[in-house]
Amino acid sequence: MKKKTLLTLLVAPMLIGAATGCEAKADFTIGISQLVRHAALDAATNGFMSAVKEGMKEAGKTVKFLKKNASGDSSNCVVIANTFVSKNVDLIMANATPALQAAANSTLEIPILGTSITDYASALKIDSSEVTKRNISGTSDLAPLDEQAEMILDKNIFPSISKVGLLYCSAETNSLFQVERVEKLLQDGGLATTRLSFSDSNDISSVLNKAKGSVDLIYIPTDNTAASCADTIAGFVRPNKIPVVAGEEGLCAKCGVLTLSINYNTLGQVTGQMALEVLLNNADISNMKIRYDSNPQKKYNETICQELGITPPEGYTKIA
């Protein structure tokens, strides 16, 4: 009986797989490994898929996507990467750092494109952030930090601020990297800064309450955890009338005033273009440069700007 239970457990998914796996074979199969579901990563994956589909259509080829999500658990990334290697896919698209690392450790042959990675040098422990010299390339979501800092320092936008709180999740490598850079830029610009780091979504509200009255403005970098609790942040900053400058549009739409944001959908599309170059034109991935979203967008949140009486500067468009 136990053997039967076990056998059923093993065989049932196989049968389902066999039933669904009998479709016509596509010219290319692409495995997509995404760390966790949230707006920014989903947008990158969607942008990637639409760009690849379109390009393949133009070239008269077909493509099949195997889309897998690790539910935030990095050990699942290993299982997913291994599955792609076993299935011998033509290309792996790894969305977020652990997904890229797991794929990078699973194969030296299958080309791997990363996206939503801030710094390839630290993610892969290599010297260069430009080219990896192996079967990996991709796009970086590094925000235009210099310009973001300039935005905060601009006296025309924020005339009377002296102390800036930097809100980020301590469990995210990328966030710390950005906060360190912005912190230095702001201090050079003559502002005092204080780091408001939280370890997960549970302690974000207590960290914010501690900051009450001691900061005039909050900066939030591109941070996955902060993005997933943007409503909590909004629930604190709006009643307390603290302006927020956000590193990405999704955050700004919920709790921010201004943002200079890269667009994850565009980033995904750039990654998709790279995939097309690798698959259709046999481009050498080991010498492909890491690409960025070349056209960051200046946006503002109309509702919160009105609440705080901030006039958005010229050149900014409102978030739809």
């Binding site: 999500n69 690790a70 539910s71 990467a81 599955t83 076993s86 797991a102 422990k125 370890s199």
Partner: protein, 306 residues
């Protein structure tokens, strides 16, 4: 089908690593009868220590050793919180786990360190799974052998007695508090060692790698004990059964991912596996008996010609 089979060695390797961790959990959960939640933290600590040692010294032996030692220390902290300060075991484990989250961030100096096998001399790597498999096989066999011998010594028996009946053990002059501390230390040492092997195998240590470790461990213990409980009750067999439980869990997981089960459902799958393995034997025990009775009754009725 061949593609599917070629994905199984990875599942086997992951299963053995999780099996080692599950043995650690088995020591606290089954032998000491203490639900120890330190493991979610100490698994990641093991990985973090291993990664940082690899980056600094590039020596897999030392990295495994340090991870094990720090793991022992993690268990020691939980043990002391529990026995010295009288904090309930489950809470003591949670406190250490919380502390370890912060400590791990400091060890990793961030959230993630890469120990790519192309640059470091790791013992295991995803690049060469067959090689990783036999090494893992030897490691797990050595550890089971060692534990079997250890739990046969006077100290080992005293630890087992502590878990079975603390009051009786105390009355027999066994220092139960000391035994709980030792058991927790060994348990977390093994869990950290598993974390270290895992970090080398996957090629990176991540702050979140320990989340859910306890669930995987409990799944493995439950699956293993149900399948092997009828074979033998020998201690070594029980440890082996835990490892097999982990391997089965891992294979089910890999199968689900391979055959395009929606990966958003993975967590539910883990819960389902445990529910099925716990629920089916229970249903058989209760309803199986009723069914048997009903059948017998029917036979009797037929015999009587009614």
């Amino acid at each position: 089908m061949i593609e599917y089979l070629s994905s199984l060695p990875n599942a086997l390797a992951l299963g053995i690593i999780w099996g080692l961790m599950a043995i650690g959990i088995y020591i606290t959960y089954k032998i000491l009868d203490i639900p120890d939640l330190t493991v979610d933290g100490s698994f990641a600590t093991g990985g973090a220590i291993c990664a940082i040692t690899m980056v600094q010294m590039n020596n897999w032996g030392l990295s495994l050793l340090f991870s094990f030692l720090i793991g022992l220390a993690c268990g020691l902290v939980t043990g002391l919180l529990h026995t010295l300060l009288g904090i309930p075991a489950i809470l003591a484990g949670i406190l250490t786990q919380l502390t370890l989250w912060s400590i791990n961030l400091k060890i990793l100096d961030g959230a993630n360190i890469s120990v790519n096998a192309t640059q470091y001399h790791t013992l295991l790597s995803l690049f060469d799974i067959p090689n990783a498999l036999w090494k893992l096989g030897i490691i797990i066999a050595l550890i089971i052998g060692f534990l079997y011998l250890f739990f046969g010594t006077e100290l080992g028996c005293a630890i087992r007695a502590t878990g079975n009946n603390p009051k009786m053990s105390n009355a027999q002059g066994i220092n139960t508090k000391r035994n709980i501390v030792i058991g927790l230390s060994i348990s977390n040492g093994l869990v950290a060692l598993a974390g270290a092997l895992f970090a080398q195998y996957q090629g990176f240590a991540d702050i979140k790698m320990g989340s859910g470790a306890i669930v995987i461990g409990l799944c493995s213990i439950v699956i293993g004990s149900i399948i092997f409980s009828k074979i033998a009750r020998n201690f070594a067999v029980r440890l082996i059964s835990v490892v097999f439980g982990a391997i089965i869990y891992s294979i089910i997981y890999q199968t689900a991912v391979f055959f395009d089960l929606d990966t958003d459902l993975l967590k539910m799958l883990a819960a389902l596996i445990v529910a099925i393995f716990l629920g089916v034997p229970y249903l058989r025990r209760t309803y199986g008996l009723k069914f048997k009775k009903w059948k017998e009754n029917r036979k009797m009725r037929l015999k009587d010609g009614k």
